[in-house]
């Protein structure tokens, strides 16, 4: 049967198992929206801004592991998705972005609402396609989803001119796809894995350093199994939180700029660093020349470009993290005597770490009156459901969440790590809630970031998405203010928000419910009320205005040069 391109697009989405898309109509996608009007299988959610729609698709992808899908019209619709695409690209999130384009004969003519979105997004997409013939559309969609979800995942953009949406052809979706130029290495090399286990078992001071790759590969179970088998200390990056349960004794929690003292000390002293799906970001390594100076480094990653990009690596293993970890477990199990001897040999190392933990645990000064943000985070953990999904914006609240929430399951923290995108939290929560209507979804924001996509309150209310929005309000752009306090002589240039916003009234204006706590003893009750309310909620906490995120490795310093109290 012949169909038009717009309908073919929707048929392709159905074939890929897409049941929810985020999108915003416009002139060059009106044909797609006309087809959507009678499409029962795909739920379309209308955000109030395309950036938010893109973050929502990203949030859905992070929460579920599926490919997130977003639709935007040409020109400004397309450019509004760019921040969302770059956010997903930096954190390797599988997404397909469908943008309308002016009709093929007009491309290049500076037509109304025309931009070269392929050109604009080239550096922040894994790949992109301009569909020039409706006959290619189904194959391109198959390729787009294949590329987005395999290897190191990432966003793929499909630019679809209006005339291609109107043109008709037979619809046939390819069952499989083979790309001669794209064959990611999935299976870890057996010899390398053998060597890795033998190197690891010969070490005295091992640490596992785990990134978001372990979660993307659905390898949290295997990672935990291997680390339990070897009984080794584990630290994770911001994006790796939840890959290894933080409530286990072997967890060193997060490392890096605002990581724990003991994780960073362990990194500085280790003789065997096993990097799992992590990319040695500068926020993790601190000063490169003094990073893990005594360590042999094993690096497991599906993306060869991540290996030896920033640091030297003694043993690279390119492959899917899950595949490699399964094989490492088998290899370790094949040498029970060596494993037993290894566990014995690392006892002094582990007690050294325990010493660091006792000396400088993560902590803050509790205050009887002023609300401490760390206390709010701890209470949120205590009072929320065990499988709660937490999203954040970027800044102090993000770091407090990472430090004090205690993540024990993968895909329960959704946060913009690589790009550090303010305005991410609320729309990402929207995406997670759309995917899991029954689960509790909380977004923890600062008063700066939440204003960047506050219009999505409307989307939450309209679509019955009961996201709980927590605002840690210090009336500052807190992280920049903290840097200004520490490194710029308290010259608070443009970081004070000055205008106090009444978020309770704001919630009311959108038809949601608002709560506010101004004193420590109101925190618990506010959280209880907020979480108990059926629909979308804002919980505003007036926190200690000049509270800092500590400890901290100043930019450019070594990991073992942490500022503990300032």
């Amino acid at each position: 049967m012949k169909m038009n391109g717009a309908r073919i697009l929707l048929e392709c989405l159905k074939k890929e198992g897409v049941d929810t898309v985020f999108g915003y109509p416009g002139g060059t996608v009106i044909n797609i929206y006309d087809e959507l009007f009678s499409c029962k299988e795909i739920r379309h959610i209308l955000p109030r801004h395309e950036q938010a729609g893109t973050h929502a698709a990203d949030g859905l992808a992070r929460a579920t592991g599926k490919v997130g899908v977003v639709i935007a019209t040409s020109g400004p619709g397309a450019t509004n998705t760019v921040t969302g695409i770059a956010t997903a690209y930096m954190d390797s999130i599988p997404m397909v972005i469908i943008t309308g384009q002016v009709p093929t004969p007009l491309i290049g003519n500076d037509a109304f609402q025309e931009v070269d979105i392929i050109g604009i997004t080239r550096p922040c997409t894994k790949h992109s396609f301009l569909v020039r013939d409706v006959k290619e559309l189904a194959t391109i969609m198959k390729k787009a989803f294949h590329i987005a979800r395999t290897g190191r995942p990432g966003p793929v953009l499909v630019d679809l001119p209006k005339d291609v949406q109107i043109a008709q052809t037979e619809f046939k979706y390819p069952e499989t796809i083979e790309l001669r130029s794209y064959k990611p290495t999935v299976e870890g090399h057996p010899k390398q894995i053998e060597r890795a286990i033998s190197m690891l078992l010969a070490s005295k001071k091992p640490v596992f350093y785990v990134g978001g790759g372990a979660i993307l590969a659905e390898a949290a179970g295997e990672l935990t199994a291997l680390c339990d088998l070897l009984d080794v200390p584990v630290t994770t990056t911001l994006l790796g939180l939840g890959a290894y349960p933080e409530d286990r004794p072997n967890s060193l929690r997060m490392l890096g700029m605002h990581g724990t003292y003991y994780a960073n000390m362990a990194m500085s002293d280790t003789d065997m660093l096993v990097a799992v799906g992590a990319r040695f970001d500068d926020r993790v390594t601190g000063k490169l020349s003094t990073f893990a100076p005594h360590a042999k480094i094993i690096h497991i990653d599906v993306d060869p470009t991540s290996i030896k990009k920033n640091v030297r690596v003694d043993l690279p293993i390119v492959g899917d993290v899950k595949d490699v970890l399964v094989k490492m477990i088998k290899e370790a199990q094949a040498h029970p005597d060596k494993v037993a001897a290894f566990k014995e040999a690392i006892i002094p190392w582990k007690s050294e770490i325990e010493g660091w933990k006792a000396k400088h645990p993560l902590t803050y000064k509790h205050a009887a009156s002023t609300i401490k943000p760390q206390y709010v985070i701890e209470k949120l953990r205590e009072l929320s459901e065990p499988d709660v999904i937490v999203t954040t914006d970027v800044g102090q609240h993000q770091m407090w969440t990472a430090q004090f929430f205690t993540f024990t399951k993968p895909r329960t923290l959704l946060t913009s790590g690589g790009l550090g995108t303010m305005g991410y939290g609320l729309p990402a929560a929207m995406g997670a809630q759309a995917a899991f209507p029954e689960r509790q979804v909380i977004t923890i924001c600062g008063d700066g970031g939440v204003q960047m996509n506050i219009q999505e309150m409307a989307t939450l209310v309209q679509n019955g998405l009961p996201v709980k929005i927590v605002i840690l309000n210090n009336n500052f752009l807190g992280m920049v203010r903290q840097w200004q306090e520490l490194f710029f002589d308290k010259r608070y240039s443009q970081t004070c928000m000055e205008l106090p916003i009444d978020y309770v009234k704001l919630a009311d204006a959108f038809g949601a419910k608002g709560y506010r706590a101004t004193k420590t003893d109101e925190v618990e009750e506010t959280i209880k009320q907020g979480l108990a309310h059926d629909g979308p909620v804002i919980m505003e906490f007036m926190i200690a205005r000049e509270e800092k995120v500590l400890p901290m490795v100043p930019a450019g310093a070594s990991l073992n040069e942490m500022v503990l109290n300032a």
């Binding site: 550096p123 130029s181 060869p304 470009t305 030896k308």
Partner: protein, 163 residues
């Protein structure tokens, strides 16, 4: 160190832009670049010259391979390839220097492809070092214009790049 790299790519819309923006976006150098379809018309071959230490070259190689449209990357720096380049040179040739230009052209087995009363235009091909050598000799006589293709390279031996 200078490297000559061949990149075999899908002959598709926008591929050259992907390759060149990878270099500019990541701060890698491109000294020269040439591109044309191959005997298999679905494949184009980009030859480029770049510089960097071992670590940078490893990144260039990996990043190129990471591009979805890149089929194969070949680095010829180990001497496994033959490089040739073509240059067109417009040189001042008046009075006594006319004979000198002709002598140089003859020695380098180059060709005069255009002539006026005051100039010669020369076509010369060879390894980049040979081009550099003839230019050294012509430069004092007055170079008016120089066009170089940048090298193209092919592997030695009986096998094609597919093996």
């Amino acid at each position: 160190m200078k490297h000559t790299i061949s990149v075999l790519v899908e002959n598709e819309f926008g591929v050259l832009a992907r390759v060149s923006s990878l270099f500019s976006g990541r701060g890698f150098n491109i000294d020269s670049l040439s591109v044309a379809p191959t005997n298999d018309e679905t494949i184009s071959r980009i030859t480029l010259e770049t510089r960097g230490d071992e670590q940078i070259l490893e990144q260039i190689n990996k990043q190129l391979n990471k591009l979805i449209d890149v089929i194969k990357v070949i680095d010829f720096t180990d001497g496994s390839g033959i490089e040739r380049e073509l240059a067109l040179v417009k040189v001042t040739a008046e009075d006594e220097s006319r004979a000198e230009v002709l002598r140089i052209v003859d020695i380098f087995r180059a060709k005069i492809i255009d002539v006026t009363a005051r100039s010669y235009t020369i076509e010369t091909t060879g390894a980049p070092a040979k081009i550099n050598a003839i230019l050294e000799l012509l430069r004092p006589l007055g170079l008016k214009e120089l066009v170089r293709t940048g090298p193209v390279a092919i592997g030695r031996g009986s096998k094609g790049w597919k093996g």
